[in-house]
Each structure stands twice: as C-alpha cells, then as structure tokens.
Amino acid sequence: MNAHSTPVLAIDSLRVEYPLANGSVFTAVENASLVIQPGEIHALVGESGAGKTTIGNTVMGLLEKPGRIASGSIRIDGKAFDATKGSAAGIVLGRDVGAIFQDPMTSLNPLFTIEDQLMEAMRFHLKLDKAAASARALELLESVGIPEPRRRLKAYPHQLSGGQRQRVVIAAALSCNPKLVVADEPTTALDVSVQSQILKLLRDLADSRGIGILLVTHNMGVVAQIADRVTIMHRGKVIETGSTQEVLRHPKATYARALIGAVPRIDQRLDRFPVLGDEGKGRAEEARAELRAKAERQEAGVDEAPILSVENLCVDYTTSGWLPGSAGHRFRAVDGVSFSVRSGEVFGLVGESGCGKTTIANVVSGLVRPTAGRVTYRGQSIAGEGATHRVGPLRQAIQMIFQDPYSSLNSRMRIGSILSEPILFYRLAGSRAEAESDVARLIEAVGLEVDAAQRFPHAFSGGQRQRLSIARALGARPKLIVCDEPTSSLDVSVQAQILNLLKDLRDATGLTLLLISHDLAVVRQMCDRVAVMRQGQIVEQAESETLFENPQHPYTQELLSLVPTLDRIRGETQAA
C-alpha cells in the first residue's frame, strides 16, 4: 500500500440533513470524515440509525430528496464530488465508483439477462461495442468465480442462487474498473458459508486490483475478518476511527468499548454481557421474585428427567394444487430429529437458514403438526403420536418468544391488553384488577416502567418490544419458553441486554429455555447443551463447552471456522 498515493475517497466534515414536515431538521450525519487509500477496505460500522448507510448512499450518489448535504466535502480520487447531483468533474458514477447492495435478490432487474445488465454500464461508460462488452462480461463472471460463466450470461437473475447473484452484483460493480467500491451490508442477507466466500472475494479484489472499498456493515465479525481500517459511528457521529486491530482490541471511546464488548464471543463463555447503563435492577428483581412466588412451582433446581423430549420428529410441507387430487410438491423440513431438554437448562438448536430449526420450534409450541414422531412434555405427548388437543395447563406450560419485535406485538392493542390476554385466558388472575397488577409486575420484571401498559407498541423501541414479548410469555407462567431467534433482528448492544434479561429470568424463575438461533456465538453464550442441525437433521449434539471446544462433526467444524468473529482479527491472524 502506498500511503502517499491519492486517496480514492476522502470525506471531510460531512453533514447530511433531512428537513422534516414540521419544519425542523433531522441530522443524519454530522461532521463525519474518513479517508480510503487504494487497495484498502474501510469498514463503517454502527448500529441502526448510526448514519452509516446515509454516508454510503451519499457516496453512491443515491442521496434521496429531501436529503441534502449541509456542509463538508467528498473527494473521489482527489476530485470534488457533488453528491446531490451525483457527479464530479472527471468522475463518473458506475465507472469510477462501483456499488454493491445488501440484498442480491432485489438488486438485479428480473426482466433482463445477466449479460444485459453487465453490459449496459460498459456500453455507456466505456463505449464498448456489443461483442467487446459481452466478452468482458464473461471475463468478469469468471473473475468473481461463477461456475459455468458462459451459460450464466444468458440466465435471468431468478435462475441464480443468492450467493451467485451477489457475485453478479460485484461483477457489475467491477465492470468499468472502478477505483472505489461502496458495499452496503454486502453479506447480511447471506448464510455463513456464502458470506465467507463473498468476503474472501472482496478482500481479493482489494488486494489484487487495488480497489478501495467502503464497507458499510453492522457485523463486527465481518469487520474483523476483512477490514484494514474501521470507523465506528453512533447517531450520525464518528465515535472512533483507526486500524481494525487497534479499534477492536483497544477501543478508546466508551461507546466503542460497550459496542465491542456486547458482541458475543465464540471463543469463551462469559457470565453476562457487559452493557452500558443500569438495567433497573432493584425493582426488576423484586418483581421477578414476586412472579416466582406466584408460580406454584412443584420442585426447584435442575431436574434430571427431561421436561421436553422430541422423538423421531418428521415434518413434511406440501404445497397443494388448487384442483382436488392434483398432488402438490412435497418437502421434508424436519427428518427424524430426536433430542430432549432437561428441566431448568437452556438448550440450543443451531443451524443455517432452512435447516428446520424453526419448524421444530413451531411443533413444540403447537403451531405446526408433525408428520411423524412425537413430542412429549413431562412424559405426556403434546404433538404427534398419541397427542390430544392441547388445552389448559399443557398449553400454558410452553410459551414462545419471537424473532421480529416489530411484528410480535399487535400494533392495534395496548400493551396492557396484550400482556393481560394470556393471564385472563388461562384464568390466572381472580379479577381484572389482579390481572392488572400482574401485568405491572411483568412489565417491571422485564425492566420497563409500569406506565407502559397504557401505551401502544409503536411507542417502544425494538429492544423494549422484545422485553414486552418476553413479559407476555412469562404472563402464562410457563415452564418452558421456546425462543425463536430472539435477538437476531436487534442491534448488538440491545441483543446483549435481551440475552442478559433471559439469563436473569432463567436464574430468577427456574425456567427452561429452548433457544433457536443461527448465531453460534449467541448459542455458546447462552446454552447448556447444543444441537447442530443441517438439512432437517441433527448432525451433532453435545454439552455446549464440549461442542465448541472440540467439535466432532465436520459440518460443525466448518461452521465454526467460517463464522467471522472478533477473536480472529485480520492482521493478527497473519501475524500469528
């Protein structure tokens, strides 16, 4: 790397504003500066609302009205760039700046072939004729590692897998030999294994072609794996900037420290996540104790007999044709899965998307009926063979919390009604007043203020909603809670709080948790025992520590090696 060459991107004191309908102004980015040298990957990280995407869009010339640049400058390859117009003297967007978007499923036009979409930029920017453009398109596909590139040229986007589409998007970004590529969350929509390939590809491009890459992401692991330098943003402001190693290992700013501390580690298990601020301990603990007293528990402590046992579970999905008799397509989502959960433990189910883990959660909580096998709760069949219609205490015993905090609360109901619904339905309170006081206890137990009951869900942030979702599940006084990806749509600092809350609740009330997650680090931090799933089957099942320290199955090993984590930081691994 030549430190004295012209930086491909230099942002200086950038301020981006959105005038609001009521006349005030929302500042999305304030006084942001950063510099990217050729061949350098510069990560822009932060939680949602940090302003990182706004910077990405501004550099791509996609800052949309009424957004405007209030002050500051952007220079691309040393030339001043007018982001509102999307132009700069001597700089052509698309030729000198390439773009990679988050979701490869939607960034390609479904009506045109891959070849069409690769060629158009070259024909406009490089004035290539059709044959030359086509030849170059083929070359590009080869260079991004798409198998059978000649055939893929004539394909339409929908005929490619997600990873292949993202490679096509990268190829399109590279088509005119850009100096700078802006990659906005390029791997967020992808599975771990594909993610790792795409990240390698990006690293190669930077190294071999000397392209500067602005990598916008929220994933610290990704940053650690490929970035040279990193800038941490929070609420539109740059918090800290520096080399990846320096920032990740020794963050100076408080926020940066908290943020990095909140990232679950895969290499070691911590008791709690370090989080910023106080979590309303006092009141919450009292409330939890009260809850625990109310739930008439038969026995305390970890019970050796399994509370839940899944035996040979199979689930088929059929897409039925609309005419009677026309056999639909059959798909086996879960294929002979057996495991058991002991009372009081946290059991983890982990796997990539589509492996069947959510289906199992649905079967356990009674949302889906199994095709074969059965599920028993304390020896009583609750799904599959011998299962009766689940009513009363059996229903009550197993509750669930969900992935998306924005859709898991009915936006047309007040929090009070949402939380009291299970209480009233299961007749856990003698009167409405008693139900109301129970609701108040629940709200306190998850660390919120009691007046939340009067409000509607939209008044709460994602993390708060997830707390309320947990409160609702607790309201039924369950013995087992199925947690389906409870933190995967949350920012990392919020995730840490929610995971802490779950741990605290488990400790306080002796709950059993079945945790479904794709995130190995989260599983390691939370679970006592873990089962790894692939394509509807469990490939490995073990005590958590055993599994992470000494994985037996090659798939588990592969997964563990691919996950980008903070403990493997670029530069360090090379050094080590």
Partner: protein
C-alpha cells in the same frame, strides 16, 4: 355529529394537503345535507300530494323567469328540484353506502376465513371470487336487477328497488374486499403476534376478530372510500339505464335520466344540477379516497 366534525382535524393531523381537506369537508357537507334532507329540504318531493303539476319546469330562481319559491327550479312534475336533489342524494348515498357496507361485511368475513384457513376454504372462496370477477360490476348489477324484475314484479317499487340495487352492486364489490383482506390476513397470520396468540391457545374466532381484523382494516377503509364513489356511480348508471330507482322516489341518477329527456328543449336545469351534484359528490369522495390510498399504500410512500 362528533365524528363528522372531528374528521377534518384528523385529516390535518395525517398531513393531508389543503385540497384533500377541502374535498373531505365538501364531501361531509354534501353527505350531511343529504342525510338531513328531511329537515333542510324546502319541500318533501316523495310526498305526491306536496307538489303541483302546474309548477312544472319552472327555471331556477336566479334566472329571468325564475320563481323565488324554487331555488333551482322545478322538474317536469313540478317538484322543487333542490328538494328532489337532496332526497335524491340521500337515496344515492344510502344505496352506495349500503352496498359498500354489505360488500365490506361479506368480503371482509370471507377474506378473513380464506386468508386464515387457506387450503380448501381459500380455494373455494377465491374461485367464486374469480368467477364473479369475470364479470364487470355494471353487467352483474344489470343481471341481478334484471332477474329480480323478471321473477319478482315488486322489484321496481320504491321499497324494494334500493335493496335490490344494494345487492346488485355488492355482489361484485365484495370480491375486492375479500382479495385484499385475504392477502393482508395471510401476511398478518404469518406475523409473530398471531403466532403468539396461537401459542397462547386463543380460540380462532378471537384471533381473527381481536387480533387480525383490526390490523387489516386500514386497506378496507381505503377501498371503502373509493368504492363508495364507485357504488354511487354504478347506482346512477343503473338508474340512468332505467333499472334503478323509480321516478316517484328518484335518486340522482333517475333525476339525470329524466332531465336528459329535456336537454334539447331548453330545460337544462333538470339534468344539469343533479349531474353537477353527482359529479361533485363523487369527485370529493374520490379525492379523499385517492389520497388515503396513496397515504396508506406503503408501496407509494416515498422511501427515505
């Protein structure tokens, strides 16, 4: 009345442009006038004893030959045109509103069932909807009223015609509700709050009515506004074609049909005023509906 008065402020809160607020006020004013016809109309045009043939075809009061008793003149029967229009608007709005209500009730119910249960229930309801959709509103409405008249001679009377018109219009309109609500219900059913309700074990009825229904209502309201305008137009068209309201109990469409016979005779007001009233009413409702659609259709909202 309270809701009527508070609606404009609601629109202001929703950030509606001034034209939409004006249209909403105008629409409410027209609807209020029509609903209050029996109090504010100078005469009762449905009372046959109240008008004199001798007063027929008097021009509006503001013209040279006008009679001050009749602000907008009289029709060919000597009815006060303003009164006839107020009552006519009431009939039109009642039929339009009735049709929308019936269609919405039917469509929302079927849409909820289809969307929630899926499978055969869904297939059955949606196939019926497809068949109905194969025929445009106006044709189905004509068929229904035509058949009703053929098998039931009383179908054209003032008591029965509105009911038949309501059914004739609603038989097509419910499909749109059913489809929209079905799609929305499918989306909502897959959402976690419904899964949560299922995990609690709430009965299906309660899940559908308490949880899903309120969440699928905003498109229903938007459709209803636009459909109200459409239903009023359909009623007017049917009346114009002569299978709508009888002349003794005219709707705006019937008035235009009657007036149309006189447009070349220099008796322009019988057709013009009802036509203006109809277009104004429908336009005002459409402006509001159009804005609501843009407002509540996330597809059309400008993304940040």
């Amino acid at each position: 009345m309270k809701t009527l008065a508070s609606t404009p402020s609601l629109f202001i809160r929703l950030g509606a442009p001034i034209s939409v607020i004006l249209a909403a006020v105008l629409a409410l004013f027209l609807v209020a006038c029509a609903l209050l016809a029996s109090w504010i109309a100078p005469y009762d045009p449905t009372d046959l004893a109240s008008f004199e043939l001798i007063n027929a075809e008097l021009p509006p009061a503001f013209t040279a030959d006008g009679d001050p008793r009749f602000l907008l003149g009289t029709d060919n029967q000597g009815r006060d045109l303003l009164s006839a229009m107020l009552y006519g608007a009431r009939v039109s709005i009642a039929i339009g509103g009735g049709a929308v209500l019936l269609a919405a009730t039917l469509g929302v119910t079927l849409g909820l069932l289809a969307g929630y249960f899926g499978g055969r229930v869904d297939a059955l309801i949606m196939r019926v909807a497809d068949v109905i959709l194969s025929f445009p509103t106006i044709l189905l409405a004509l068929l229904v009223s035509g058949i009703a008249r053929a098998i039931f001679p009383g179908a054209a009377t003032a008591e029965w015609a509105p009911i038949i018109l309501i059914c004739a219009i609603a038989i097509h309109e419910w499909v749109q509700y059913a489809r929209t609500v079905r799609a929305a219900t499918m989306v909502e059913t897959a959402k976690d709050y419904v899964r949560a309700a299922k995990v609690i074990g709430l009965p299906v009825r309660r899940i559908m009515l308490r949880h899903i229904l309120p969440n699928v209502m905003s498109p229903v309201l938007v459709i209803s506004t636009i459909n109200l305008a459409a239903a009023v137009l359909t009623e007017a068209t049917l009346s114009f074609l002569g299978v709508g309201m009888p002349p003794t109990y005219p709707s705006l469409g019937t008035l235009i049909r009657i007036g149309n016979e006189f447009v070349f005779s220099g008796i322009w007001w019988i057709a013009l005023f009802p036509a203006l009233a109809l277009v104004t009413l429908v336009l005002a409702v459409n402006i509001v509906g159009d804005w609501l659609r843009d407002r509540f259709n996330p597809k059309l909202r400008v993304k940040r």
